[in-house]
Amino acid sequence: MPALAVVGAALLVERRTAALRAELVEVRASRARIASAADDARREAERVLHDGAQQRLLSVALVLRMARAQLPGPGRGADLLEEAAAELAAALGELRELARGMYPVLLTDAGLGPALAALVERSTVPAELVEVPRRRLSRADEQACYFVVSDALALTAGALDRAPGGRVRIVVRDRGGRMDVEVTARVPGGVPEVPRAGLGGLEDRVAARGGTLRTTSSADGVGVRAVLPCG
C-alpha cells in the first residue's frame, strides 16, 4: 500500500476514534442527566402525593373523627364511622410509606447526612451511619449518593435476613471530586454473598453517574462499594 494511503487510513481511524470518544462522553452525560431527571421525577411525585391525595384523605379522616364525636355513644352508626376511620388511617399510613420510599423530604430540606441518619433509624435491620459528608452537595449528587446507600442497604439487609446478629455499617467518604460509598453487612461468621436480585439496578444507577460498583466479601461480612464522581 502506498505510504500516502497508509497515512490517510491512519488519519481516518484517528478521526473516527475521536468522534466515537466524543460520542461516548455525550452518551455518558446524557445517561447521568436521565438518572438525575428520574430522581427529580420521584421528588415531584412525592410532593404531589403530599400536597394532593394525602391532604384530602387527612381532611376526610379528621371530618370522620368530628362526626363520630357528634354521636352520643356506641351504636351501629358509631361502629361504621370507626371502621371507616380505621381503614382510612391504614390507607394514609400506606400512602405515607409509599411517598417516603419515593423521595425523603429531608434530602431536599437538610441534605445527605440528616436524610441518611433518618434512613438508618427506620432500617429494619441494625445499621449505623459511620461517616457522611458534612457539606451540602449538588442536588443530583445528593440524590445519587442517597439512593445508592438506600438500595445497597436494602440489598445487604436481605443478606442479614439469613444471618441474625449482624449489623450494617454505612460509610460515605468525601474525597473531594468523588464520594466513596461503602455499605457492609457485618456478621459473626460471615454471610455467603450479596443477593444478586436488585444488584442490577444499583449497578445501572452507579454507572449512569460515571461511577464504579463492586461487591465485597470477607470473613466477617459482605457489602457493596461504590465510587461516585461528584461535582
Partner: protein
C-alpha cells in the same frame, strides 16, 4: 381564659377543619395564614399565644418561621403540624424552638393542650 391560636397552613380545607377542632377543644382561633410570610406578619399583628404551624409551606418552611417567631419579644408557643410523620424530619423538630409536633391526623384540642402543658 382561652388560649388564642393562629393557624398557618396552605390548605384552606385543613385550616377550616383545624379551626373547628381547636374551637371544640376550648381554644380561641384569632387568625389564619396561608404561608410563612403571612404567618410572621399575622403573629406580629395578633400576638397569639399559640401558632399551629404547618411544616411545608409555599415560601418559607415551618422551621424557618418558628425560628423567626421565637426571636420576637414574648414569642408564641409554636406547635408544628404535618401530614408527614415526625421521623421524616429527623432531628429538625427537636432542634427547632417549637414546643412540639403533631401529625395532622392526630390533631385535636387535647393534643395541642397536652403539648402546651408539657412545655410548661
Amino acid at each position: 381564659m382561652r388560649a388564642r391560636v393562629l393557624i398557618v397552613d396552605d390548605h384552606p380545607s385543613f385550616r377550616s377543619i383545624a379551626r373547628r377542632l381547636l374551637v371544640d377543644g376550648g381554644f380561641a382561633v384569632v387568625g389564619e395564614a396561608a404561608d410563612g410570610a403571612g404567618a410572621i406578619s399575622a403573629a406580629r399583628e395578633l400576638h397569639p399565644d399559640v401558632v399551629l404551624l404547618d411544616v411545608q409551606l409555599p415560601d418559607l418552611d415551618g422551621f424557618a418561621v418558628a425560628a423567626v417567631l421565637a426571636a420576637q419579644p414574648a414569642p408564641p408557643a409554636v406547635v408544628l403540624v404535618s401530614s408527614r410523620s415526625r421521623a421524616d424530619y429527623g432531628t429538625r423538630v427537636g432542634d427547632s424552638p417549637a414546643v412540639g409536633f403533631i401529625a395532622k391526623a392526630e390533631l385535636s384540642g387535647d393534643a395541642v393542650g397536652r403539648l402546651l402543658r408539657c412545655a410548661g
